[in-house]
């Protein structure tokens, strides 16, 4: 078992609770022991980074400091945006002693622990796409996906900027495909799998965002996908909840089930519906469940 500090982020605590429950159910099966962080806040989701960059740095330093205080060397994320925000702050703090000292003095002045730079921020995807995690995953996914055709959707902030993420080639990623295969599914390839889902501007610029969202949905359906999987709950929200809006703007009906990474593996690993919580999705996951139960 590898012990990791678990950073849920906002979405998995709120509208994407199914991501949290399925991640918790999956973790022991892939060799991860999760230590909860109760005192941390939102990472700022890129918005605080943009509006109040110094506050962004401090909030993320505080999260890293509490993660370090658990004694684990790894902070596990389940969201692309959390991953980028925390990794970026981590690089800033670890590579600049003067900056870190000022931030630490501020943290201590409000009663938070200081951060010494000893934590690596890793997304769940990276922990199970290779090494021991991957071997355990292959054993755990014994129920299999029976050849289900799954479109991997990476989203942006787990790939780019690659100097801050760096797990895989941002133009030719392979990790989701490897996991789909390990679960007995068939990965569906399509160009928009590395593009944007539109989420960051879906409220402020809905039309522009929908013009982005339609690309992966349309391409995955054209290539015969039964479902789509994503490592990011913000991509999930946009792909799942806003999919119906594509109908209003194009006159065409789309109904592509969107799964969180931990749900896809969860199905293959025989995790109960009570943990996967498919009923919380807007686009029905029933066709997938039916296809797998025959």
């Amino acid at each position: 078992m590898k012990t990791v500090a678990y950073y849920r982020g906002c979405l998995a605590s709120l509208s994407a609770k199914e991501l949290d429950t399925s991640t918790r159910a999956l973790a022991p099966k892939v060799g991860l022991e999760l230590v909860d962080l109760e005192t941390v806040t939102c990472c700022g989701a890129g918005d605080i980074h943009e509006a109040e960059p110094d506050y962004y740095l401090h909030l993320n330093a505080r999260i890293l400091a509490y993660a370090e205080a658990t004694g684990s060397d790894t902070l596990m994320t389940v969201c692309n945006v959390c991953t980028l925000n925390l990794r970026q702050a981590n690089f800033m703090l670890s590579n600049d002693d003067v900056l870190r000292e000022r931030v630490n003095a501020n943290l201590e002045s409000v009663g938070a622990p200081p951060y010494s730079g000893g934590v690596d921020v890793r997304h769940l995807l990276w922990l199970i796409a290779e090494g021991d995690g991957y071997e355990l995953l292959k054993q755990a996914a014994h129920k299999g996906l029976k050849g289900l055709r799954v479109a991997p959707f990476y989203g942006c902030q787990i790939l780019r900027p690659s100097r801050l993420l760096g797990f895989e080639d941002p133009d030719r990623p392979w990790s989701l495909e490897a996991i789909i295969e390990a679960c007995g599914g068939e990965p569906v390839d399509y160009p928009a799998k590395i593009k944007c889902c539109g989420f960051p501007i879906i409220q402020a610029r809905e039309e522009t965002a929908l013009g982005e969202l339609i690309q992966p949905i349309e391409q995955a359906i054209e290539r015969g996908a039964d479902a789509m999987v994503t490592p990011c709950p913000l991509c999930h929200l946009s792909l799942d909840a806003w999919q119906s809006k594509l109908e209003a703007s194009t006159g065409r009906h789309f109904a592509l089930p969107i799964l969180h990474l931990s749900q896809l593996i969860g199905v293959a690993a025989g995790i109960e519906e009570s943990e996967l919580k498919f009923k919380r999705h807007v686009v029905s996951v029933k066709p997938v469940v039916e296809k797998l139960s025959v």
């Binding site: 939102c42 605080i48 110094d54 590579n95 133009d171 409220q203 982005e212």
Partner: protein
């Protein structure tokens, strides 16, 4: 170097490329395969030169400097925008790969690999890329801008206007009128210039409909830029400067500010209130039918009781401490740039606080340059 070393024949490569040819007059498109022999040091641009010289003189592409300075040779290799003169072929050939070369995206193609740059230039021109100074003439000597002041726009000033960032901008694909990464980075280059006097006017203009809040944070621009400009980060600087100057009428700005409010009040995003806080109550009500659909699936968490992080008073106190230290606006971004640069240049002197210069945290972008007497300058510049 000995005579013999100079005349050593280089190893040669058999380079194969597939090029999307295109004729805008007829609309004809064709993927053409070329194979040429070339020295092993060739770049993609050298290979195109050899093809044009020996195989097919009708192939069209742009070039000038051949050394990553002029920004003429932007094109796509396997769908990703690159400078042809910066892209070495040896590894690609040795891997047995035959890359597909095509024109950049988001710009109309004139012929083969040549795009019409007019939409690019018109957006750059819309940024008014010149100083609007208005400060007084220096009474005796010249004005000096300190290194710390120039650090604010150091990265933005590196742009060579190649368009590689624009080629893959996801927001621009969806909204062609979006000012886009190159133009907005240019905007920051002037907003942050210590000699500039019209920051607020500029920020207001860049906050309009197709401005900074159109950016979907896909980070393709940072990934593709061959010069380390990091246009997405320049846009974040403009966002931070706008908020600092109270320019927050856009829904994008309101959205960003709501995250700050959430973090310091409950610690977590107050998701339910995000839509009315971003779009205003009237538009939010128009969205009610959509929202009710989400509610059925638990996608709209009820606001009461609010989800409050333990020890949230720490996050709130932290906000007050940070605000007192005055690293608002672009400065909050600039302070992290040195550390991030060390990812690519780990041997940089001063990586751990020793040698090398440090960004002074106390410079506000746009602060006027100080006038210094030349006589006091330790480096004693004598010319006037």
């Amino acid at each position: 170097m000995t005579e013999a070393a100079v005349h050593t024949e280089p190893q040669t490569l058999e380079v194969a490329l597939k090029v999307w040819r295109y004729d805008s007059r007829t609309g004809e498109r064709e993927l053409v395969r070329y194979e040429v022999e070339a020295p092993d040091w060739v770049t993609l641009l050298d290979v195109l030169d050899i093809i044009k010289d020996r195989v097919d003189g009708t192939l069209a592409y742009r070039k000038s400097c051949r050394m990553m300075i002029c920004g003429s040779c932007g094109m796509r290799m396997d769908g990703a925008a690159v400078l042809a003169c910066r892209t070495r072929m040896k590894e690609i050939v040795e891997a047995g790969h035959v890359p597909v070369i095509s024109a950049m995206g988001n710009l109309p193609i004139v012929k083969d690999l040549v795009v019409d740059m007019e939409p690019f230039w018109s957006k750059v021109r819309a940024m008014k890329p010149w100083l609007q100074s208005g400060y007084e003439e220096p009474p005796e000597h010249e004005w000096r801008a300190s290194q710390e002041q120039m650090n604010v726009i150091h990265k933005e000033a590196l742009c060579i206007m190649c368009g590689c960032c624009v080629s893959e901008c996801n927001s621009m694909e969806s909204d062609p009128e979006f000012l886009g990464p190159a133009a907005l980075a240019k905007g920051m280059r002037f907003v942050g210039d210590p000699r500039e006097r019209n920051q607020v006017e500029r920020l207001n203009a860049y906050n309009e409909e197709h401005g900074i809040w159109d950016c979907t944070r896909c980070y393709f621009c940072n990934e593709r830029c061959p010069k380390g400009v990091d246009p997405r980060d320049a846009i974040a600087k403009l966002g931070a400067e706008s908020i600092k100057h109270g320019i927050d009428h856009d829904m994008g700005a309101k959205h960003a500010k709501w995250f700050v409010t959430s973090a310091k009040t409950t610690g977590w995003l107050r998701e339910t209130e995000l839509v009315p806080k971003t779009q205003g109550v009237v538009s939010a009500i128009k969205q009610t039918k959509f929202a009710m659909g989400l509610l059925r699936h638990g996608k709209v968490p009820l606001p009461f009781p609010p989800h409050v992080a333990e020890e949230v008073d720490e996050a709130r106190a932290l906000y007050n401490v940070v605000k007192q230290q005055g690293r608002d606006g672009a400065l909050g971004h600039v302070q992290g740039e040195r550390a991030l640069a060390r990812i690519d240049h780990p041997d940089d002197a001063g990586a751990h606080g020793g040698q090398g210069y440090r960004d002074s945290p106390d410079i506000t972008p746009g602060e006027p340059p100080v006038q210094r007497d030349i006589g006091e300058d330790p480096h004693g510049q004598q010319t006037r």
